[in-house]
Amino acid sequence: MRARFLDGIPLLLALTLGACAQMQPRGTGDLGVVIERESGRVQIVENSGRTSLGIVDGLGDLSHASVVYSRDARYAYVFGRDGGLTKVDLLMRTIVKRVMQAGNSIGGAISQDGTLVAAQNYTPGGVKVFRADTLELVADIPATYGPNRERAKVVGLADAPGNRFVFSLFEAGEIWIADLTDPARPKVDKLTNVGRQPYDGFITPDGRYYLAGLFGDDGLALVDLWHTERGATRILDGYGKGEEKLPVYKMPHLRGWAIAGDTAYLPAIGRHEVLVVDTRHWHEVGRVAVAGQPVFAIARPDGRQVWVNFAFPDNGKVQVIDTETRRVMRTLEPGHAILHLEFTPRGEAVWISARDDDRVLVYDTATLAQIAALPVDGPSGIFFTSRAGRVGF
């Protein structure tokens, strides 16, 4: 009853404000959120005119913050490091609701039907599931493992078809598939011994395959979500061929996956390489030597280019890989501490956050020239609403 009453308020406000000449109704398809990690704020931006529309403050510790969108692309769910989950209205530029749901959290996902938002937590290790409209808790899935009933840190949370959430347990070396068809009674399928220390995971754009990168093993764990009874299989086993791994100053992020045609481009861990993998048979088909240890490898939406950023100390560079020749076609130095990049919905431009320059830079992906810069206080993640309709985002 109360929820329904509150739901009406934004509408009422919108109607009232809509009456003013300055406030025209607008869509959200070209909107996005940029995280200001240290100040606990987000900027609402638009990628048609490349401007900032405003700031929403009071979101807590936003280091490692990530965002998913409601399916109407009006609301951003912002997951903070301190366990805060904040629902932000992009149009009104206000916080609709905020809950502290854990002590230490690193991200989340939204269900296929858009009714549930899940947060992946380090402390206490597990997944919590909330109603997307009210942020009311509907399910708590502790990541308890082993004979001593320890709690593992949860990484690599992804939404999968069938209102499922898939995630990995870092200390346990397990992948769990939680079916939230009945949100009050989640059915959890646990795949054990998938490999040591899965550090992140992602799901393919069709929602069929879930992959977890392994920190403690040379390879990735692959789950065919059409056949979970087959368990997880190891792919790219021994890609480092027993060579000493370079020190890893920042864990790669797999969620921004780069799938270009029939190949996936994956950051190698502890190596200055991007691995090229055939996604029909999951075999390695090549490697691209790059300028440092890749953090994100992200495909332009048409799959013709893959853009890569790097861990410290090479985090001032961005490299562009031509997926036809599988070679680096350009090395850019957009600024200091490049943390993230995000393509516009159809990929004519890419937005790049330069944390230590307090700027977000926009590059034209055809000319590879910088075409705009926006002042942002210590920017990290950039999230456009085009994520709202994509599996795994």
Partner: protein
């Protein structure tokens, strides 16, 4: 007492590493990096160490490095962990970028807490 001795030993090491006379009285002064480098190190602590330990060092994939979490830890072990990393964990060695006195300064800075400082 044990911690005190570790600090003195460390200070001596730090001083000798810089080729300066190893007098215990001057150790603290010698160990402290110049203020510009302190700012760099503090940024590195919050953002690069922070990518695993959290920007406020409250923990992440790596453990919390708050004053409370560190209160029973031995100085020399902490600096050794920073410089050499920990095998079979995600903690890398930082000695290519951080000297011994700088690691000691980082430990002292962590013990003060970083939550509210920018």
């Amino acid at each position: 007492m044990r911690r005190h001795r570790a600090m003195v030993v460390f200070a001596l090491l730090a001083a000798s590493a810089q080729g300066l006379p190893a007098s215990a009285g001057a150790a603290e002064e010698i160990a402290a990096p110049a203020s510009a480098r302190q700012r760099e190190l503090f940024k590195l602590l919050k953002h690069d160490c922070g990518s695993c330990h959290g920007m406020r060092l409250t923990g992440g994939l790596g453990p919390a490095l708050t004053p409370d979490a560190l209160k029973d830890k031995v100085e020399a072990n902490l600096t050794a962990t920073i410089l050499s990393g920990r095998p079979n964990t995600a903690m890398p060695p930082w000695q290519a970028f951080i000297s011994e006195p700088e690691a000691a300064w980082l430990v002292s800075r962590m013990r003060k807490g970083v939550a509210d400082a920018r």
